[in-house]
């Protein structure tokens, strides 16, 4: 994956994954201060991204994903992979769930979602199966369509919104914002995306990554401001930020909902973002069980996604408090545990730096062959690459 593709995937993924249910839920809890929530959220993730780059400077993530001679390391890697698998599956699920919500009123009132979602599940599976390079190519191809749609929707919305809603600034309740940050922490962890994308990307730079991320989140925050301005007029359980902005934007023109096509284009980005998360979930599962055939693991993950969506999260709105209450602990544990483990490995590596075998072989990656459509066992699962 080229650096350009990396930045595109990052920018579109963070926007399309967050423009869905999260702003509605946050606005329901924080009202006018929701945009501050997103600013703090951005700040935390910027710190996370910097930490990720510190880790990447000292440690090649590819080597962490590989088996080692050291049993302790293997157990640690297994646990690490299982927890990150959980994170990516939840992210994929949240996006997936939203796509259903988008079509729910127009389509799935009369049709069975559990049956017709198989098409979407196949699409996501197919994209993830073809590999991150292919997903990145798709992102690259749709970039302008998605960006133009988002900008047009933002402009339409910006002309309709009431900006004074976010005032007065002095009444901002930071304590409440911080508690809600904890509540919605399952949406956190964009730095995870940076961390795992780096496995496949080359020549990425911290400054550019931070710029792209911050610009994307600033745009997102602007969308949230627009959304809050319009929010008064719509039902509290809005289907998603972009739908609400779009719904209000062209009403006065009496030209129907042609803006709906713009939503569809942005949803393409959401489907691709869902595939990115599923791909990394597959990657984690494969690293946890390197001997299993990749295709079985991919099918297992996608089946989990389907089952969770159909049977557990059939109505996210109704179960959101329970879901967030549970998931916030999982996400916090995943974030802290992952960073601690990675720093631990770096520390361990620096202590053992005299050992020649500690050198990590970046050329032989455990992920080689993972993207390929063949079901062959990866050739390079060579034990002892870490040589600890």
């Amino acid at each position: 994956m080229s650096a350009r593709q990396f930045y595109i995937v990052l920018a579109i993924s963070v926007i399309t994954m967050k423009m869905q249910k999260l702003p509605c839920l946050v606005a329901g809890e924080l009202g006018k201060d929701s945009w501050i929530f997103f600013l703090v959220y951005t700040l935390i993730n910027i710190i996370g991204i910097v930490l990720v780059f510190v880790i990447l400077k000292r440690l090649d993530l590819k080597s962490v994903l590989k088996s080692s001679k050291n049993k302790f390391f293997n157990i640690l890697r297994f646990v690490l992979m299982v927890v990150t698998l959980l994170y990516f599956l939840v992210q994929a699920l949240l996006v997936y769930e939203h796509i259903q919500g988008l079509f729910a009123n127009t389509l799935f009132d009369s049709l069975s979602w559990s049956f017709f979602s198989l098409l979407l599940i196949f699409a996501v599976f197919f994209l993830a199966h073809r590999g991150i390079e292919n997903i990145a190519l798709n992102f690259e191809l749709y970039t302008w369509i998605i960006v133009v749609s988002l900008v047009l929707l933002a402009i339409f919305g910006a002309t309709q919104t009431n900006y004074s809603v976010i005032l007065p600034l002095e009444t901002i309740d930071f304590g409440n914002i911080l508690s809600k940050l904890q509540m919605f922490s399952c949406w956190f962890g964009d730095f995870f995306l940076v961390l795992y994308l780096s496995v496949k990307a080359r020549d990425i730079k911290l400054s550019k990554t931070l710029f792209v991320y911050t610009a994307s989140m600033m745009f997102m925050t602007f969308l949230v401001v627009v959304f809050i301005g319009i929010y008064d007029k719509v039902a509290p359980l809005a289907p998603g930020l972009i739908s609400v902005i779009s719904e209000q934007s062209l009403l006065d023109l009496s030209i129907g909902r042609v803006d709906w096509f713009l939503i569809l284009f942005t949803e393409m980005g959401a489907i691709l973002a869902c595939a990115v998360n599923l791909y990394f979930a597959n990657l984690c599962l494969h690293s946890a069980f390197p001997k299993a055939r990749p295709i079985y693991l991919k099918v297992f993950n996608v089946a989990i996604l389907y089952v969770l969506d159909i049977f557990l999260l059939v109505d996210l709105n109704a179960k959101i408090r329970f879901f967030c209450g549970f998931m916030c602990y999982v996400t916090n544990v995943v974030s802290v545990f992952t960073l601690l483990v990675l720093f631990g490995i770096i520390l361990f590596k620096s202590i053992k730096k005299d050992d020649k075998n500690i050198g990590i072989n970046t050329k032989k990656t455990a992920l080689k062959g993972f993207n390929s459509r063949d079901n062959k066992k990866p050739k390079s699962l060579i034990k002892g690459d870490l040589g600890i």
Binding site: T106, L107, S110, F116, A123, F126, I135, L141, W260, I271
Partner: protein, 483 residues
């Protein structure tokens, strides 16, 4: 008793009355010539082979001197590029390919005399232009290669020849520009051509399927052209051409999707117009494939998207229809497909009658009878016209149109969008001899975009496409340097 070479040849074709034999001289100096009457140029045979040989024999003292093959070759038939043929099977192959084979003293030589029944070079029906060259390839491979040589007068134009097909012995030539085309791609193509083991190659389409990579062969993966000017520009970009004798269609590799969005007309107009035309082609393509599906989806599920006045007019048009929108549009689509197929098979004299019947049956009677509605005819008709913006990809687009219609009718825009994503994702994963299908947009290659959607003038196209050409990327000096 051991058979002579002449007897061996005769024993192989005993039942073929077409193979003629001419015997000259006598005794040890007996010359036998084999040829097929319908394949050799009779006047050339008579004037340049038979008469000079007879004259030559008259001047020789046949009883004392023994005539050698080399002597005939150098003194009598020096005009021809003659080769000695060793095995009986090869001798027969040459006779069947239109050569006259001369046998003397148990040795044989092949004299190329083939007569080619060919049509004259004319503008191909599929790539007509208002401005620009009007020459098109014909069925004769030598004429076609000559048309290229006329334009590319360089020793770098190289040919690799093959004979493929056990029964047809079809001549195939791989043509490329040395130093520009990628050697690895050339090797791959030659390797694939060498592997072909088939009884016959009737047309370049037969070769195409052997050159395609990948298991699913739904989308076009090999480029083709009928025009020498287009082929020359493709060769200059680093592509490799495959000529097949008997076919006016020349195959080109590697193939990228954007090739079909370009037209030779684009190069004989101002860049702004070419850009506009290319954008229209893309919209036309997407419209052609998805319009019936989107129409059915809008009518069935997502009608709120439509402006209210427009919705009212559509509702009034479909009032009284007894069949659901999906069935209605499928009926119109199938009627259109049947008419298209029939018009292709029908004699030209009946085509007019068919159009009238089609127009009347579809346009008036079916609407009056309440079987189909006017909007669905408009949608299918415009979509069908739009299919022809990219004539090279009509087959796959016609099938995809039906797929999108079915999905749009069953699960609305959700189905159309998801299917679109799956298809595009599949296409992005395709590589034609290592070159991604969506280049120069996915992956993004800035320098290659000068001849993409936004076409720039010839002077700006300084470099060849990065992934197509080998190391020789520079086509011309930059504008500034030329000044």
């Amino acid at each position: 008793m051991k058979k002579t070479l002449v007897e061996k040849i005769k024993s192989k074709y005993t039942k073929d009355s077409q193979i003629k034999t001419v015997e000259l001289g006598n005794g040890e100096n007996k010359i036998t010539i084999f040829y097929i009457e319908s394949l050799v140029e009779k006047s050339l045979f008579s004037a340049s082979v038979l008469s000079p040989l007879q004259e030559f024999l008259k001047t020789q003292n046949l009883e004392k001197t023994k005539i050698k093959l080399e002597k005939i070759k150098t003194e009598v038939l020096s005009l021809f590029s003659i080769e000695e043929v060793k095995e009986t099977n090869n001798i027969l192959k040459d006779i069947l390919c239109g050569s006259a084979v001369l046998v003397i003293d148990e040795r044989a030589m092949s004299i190329p005399l083939y007569k080619t029944e060919k049509r004259s070079v004319a503008e191909p029906p599929t790539s007509k232009v208002i401005k620009g060259p009007r020459e098109g390839f014909v069925e004769d491979i030598f004429t076609n290669i000559g048309l290229i040589r006329k334009r590319l007068k360089t020793p770098n134009l190289q040919l690799v020849d093959f004979v493929v097909g056990k029964q047809t012995n079809t001549n195939i030539s791989v043509v490329y520009l040395k130093g520009i085309a990628r050697e690895d791609i050339l090797d791959k193509i030659i390797k694939r051509l060498k592997k072909i083991d088939i009884d016959g190659i009737i047309d370049s389409y037969y070769i195409e399927s052997f050159l395609e990579e990948g298991r699913i062969k739904f989308f076009k993966r090999v480029g083709s052209t009928e025009k020498p000017d287009i082929l020359c520009s493709k060769l200059l970009e680093g592509r490799i051409a495959i000529f097949v004798d008997g076919s006016p269609i020349v195959l080109t590799l590697p193939f990228v999707l954007f090739e079909d969005l370009q037209s030779s007309q684009d190069y004989f107009t101002i860049p702004a117009m070419a850009t506009f035309a290319r954008i229209m082609r893309v919209f036309g393509l997407i419209f052609a494939v998805t319009a019936p599906g989107i129409y059915v989806a809008l009518q069935s599920y997502n009608y709120r998207i439509l402006p209210i006045n427009f919705l009212i007019s559509i509702l009034s048009s479909i009032e009284g229809l007894s069949i659901p929108p999906l069935v209605e549009i499928l009926v119109v689509l199938f009627l259109f497909e049947i008419i298209t197929e029939a018009s292709l098979q029908m004699p030209n004299s009946l085509a007019m009658a068919l159009s009238i019947i089609g127009a009347l049956a579809l346009g008036n009677t079916a609407v009056d009878a309440g079987i189909i509605s006017p909007p669905s005819i408009v949608v299918v008709a415009t979509s069908s016209v739009a299919l022809y913006v990219i004539p090279d990809e009509i087959s796959e687009n016609r099938l995809m149109r039906i797929l999108f219609t079915l999905l749009g009718g069953i699960i609305g825009l959700y189905g159309v969008v998801v299917a679109f994503i799956i298809i595009v994702s599949y296409l992005t994963s395709i590589k034609s001899y290592g070159v991604p299908y969506f280049v120069p947009y996915a992956p993004d290659i800035k320098s290659d975009k000068k001849d993409a959607f936004i076409k720039q003038d010839v002077q700006s196209m300084v470099s060849r496409p990065k992934l197509l050409a080998g190391s020789n990327l520079i086509r011309q000096k930059s504008k500034e340097k030329q000044k």
